[in-house]
């Protein structure tokens, strides 16, 4: 009997101090403490700004904390509509190639080909890098005297340049009634280097061209450029002017 009383007292003491397993045993459900613990994070969440419904001010929910036993009628599950803005692709980079004729001073006119890479800063201004090559022939002196001034390898005319260009007269061309294509006349000037005759020369280039865009991403152009450098290849120092005319195609892309 005394043992039973001690066990009962022990159970009573344990249930008062809150031992969870014993409280379940005695049918307690802890209705008094847990809703407070639940409601606090829900009421505070709008303060983060993430789940705040637009029609509910941050302080509106706090009155529920006082009434601890009141059931929650509305769970604020409304989330602000999030919009993911896709990246807008630019088309400022222009990459392509060209083929044409280069008149190497004293060494004749020969085919030239090259690659070009451009970057358009505004609708008017662009930067452009070009690299090309051609192979010179024989001078009149070489043909008449049968003396070779240069080796075969030295006759390669290789150049690169960095230029600034300006779209001078942008417009449209019309093919029939229903087709219009963008077009522009452009000028450019720059600096670079030319390897010819066993020497590398500092080169100034300038030119002009006309470009037509059948679509936004593709362009064809014709251009005439002069590449000028100092040379003493034929004994006297002089300014060599090497005129180039080419037809090219480029594509526009970006990131």
């Amino acid at each position: 009997m005394e043992i039973r009383l001690r066990v009962l007292l022990l159970i009573a003491a344990a249930s008062l101090t809150g031992c969870a397993s014993v409280r379940h045993l005695l049918g307690h459900h802890g209705a008094s403490a847990e809703p407070v613990a639940d409601s606090r994070p829900a009421a505070q969440a709008p303060a983060d700004g993430e789940t705040l419904p637009s029609d509910q001010p941050p302080g509106a929910d706090t009155s529920q904390n006082g009434d601890e036993s009141a059931p929650r009628v509305i769970e604020p599950q409304v989330e602000r509509r999030k919009i993911k803005v896709p990246r807008i692709r630019s088309q400022n980079i222009e990459l392509g190639g060209y083929y044409g004729t280069l008149n190497i001073e004293d060494f004749g006119a020969h085919p030239v080909y090259g690659v070009q890479l451009g970057y358009h800063i505004t609708e008017d201004i662009f930067f452009q890098a070009e690299a090309g090559r051609s192979k010179g022939g024989f001078t009149s002196f070489e043909k008449l005297s049968n003396v070779k001034l240069l080796t075969e390898g030295e006759r390669w005319f290789k150049y690169y340049d960095l230029s600034v260009g300006y779209n001078l007269f942008p417009g449209e061309i019309f093919l029939g009634r229903n087709l219009a294509m963008r077009s522009t006349f452009f000028v450019l000037a720059g600096l670079g280097a030319t390897q010819f005759g066993g020497d590398q020369k500092f080169t100034v280039n300038f030119g002009a061209g006309y470009k037509v865009l059948p679509a936004d991403w593709i362009a064809v152009h014709v251009a005439v450029e002069d590449r000028v450098f100092d040379t003493d290849l034929l004994g006297v120092s002089k300014l060599a002017s090497n005129l180039e005319a080419h037809l090219g195609a480029t594509v526009f892309f970006g990131f």
């Binding site: 509509r81 919009i83 630019s90 088309q91 779209n167 942008p170 670079g192 020369k201 500092f202």
Partner: protein
């Protein structure tokens, strides 16, 4: 669309005619960008080009304004990378073309890589440098800097009678310059470097280098 109307041009340029307008409240899809122009498609499927300043008066579907980071003075003060080309260059009397790229550790300290080619009457050559630059007043439009670094220089002397051999030497440099913010992501940059080339001859060589060019940050 938040502005009274949005003008659609036939091409990405100020002169291209306006052929259509989008009314307030209508929406457009932005397809792509070419310099300051955006190609958009209207709800009725019409495609045209809209100027940047007009696009800035539109709002996104959630009501926030349409913005596009074009670069500004704040970006000029504090950025991660910059790159550019020096169109004018003088390396010990020879004409020089060079390009540089730099990585900013802080707004005033950057690691810089430079590569260039010089072409002169006495010699041609290439050079590559790595250095540290300290920028004073990075928050100003005009910000000077000083730099210190090392590199290699490959020289191909030109001589008509006796052909000296090509040589590659190590070098060190100290210098200074300025950056001047132009607009958006662009600035001009000018600098002077004093190189000491550690030659294999009895005397080291001193070379003055002056450069001026365009650069952008991102």
């Amino acid at each position: 669309m938040n502005a009274p109307y949005l003008e659609l041009h036939t091409g990405p340029g100020r002169g291209y005619p306006v052929f259509n307008v989008v009314a307030r409240g209508d929406s457009v899809d932005v397809l792509k960008r070419y310099t300051d122009w955006y190609k958009v498609r209207t709800e009725r499927g019409i495609e045209g080009w809209v100027a940047q300043r007009d696009m800035l008066s539109t709002v996104l579907a959630d009501g926030s304004p349409f913005t596009f980071n074009l670069g500004d003075r704040a970006g000029f003060t504090s950025h991660r990378f910059e790159a550019g080309v020096f169109l004018y260059g003088d390396y010990g009397g020879a004409s020089e073309i060079s390009a540089f790229a730099s990585y900013s550790l802080t707004s005033s300290l950057a690691i810089e890589l430079t590569a260039g080619e010089f072409l002169g009457s006495a010699s041609n050559g290439t050079l590559a440098d790595i250095g540290l630059a300290h920028v004073f007043l990075p928050e100003k439009r005009f910000s000077p800097f000083v730099m210190l670094g090392t590199g290699i220089v490959h020289t191909e002397p030109k001589a008509q009678l006796v052909q000296p051999s090509d040589r590659t030497d190590q070098s060190a440099f100290a210098g200074g310059g300025f950056r001047f913010y132009l607009t958006r992501r662009f600035f001009v940059r000018g600098e002077y470097r004093n190189h000491i080339v550690f030659t294999k001859r009895n005397q080291n060589e001193q070379v003055d280098e002056w450069k001026f060019g365009f650069a952008f940050f991102f």
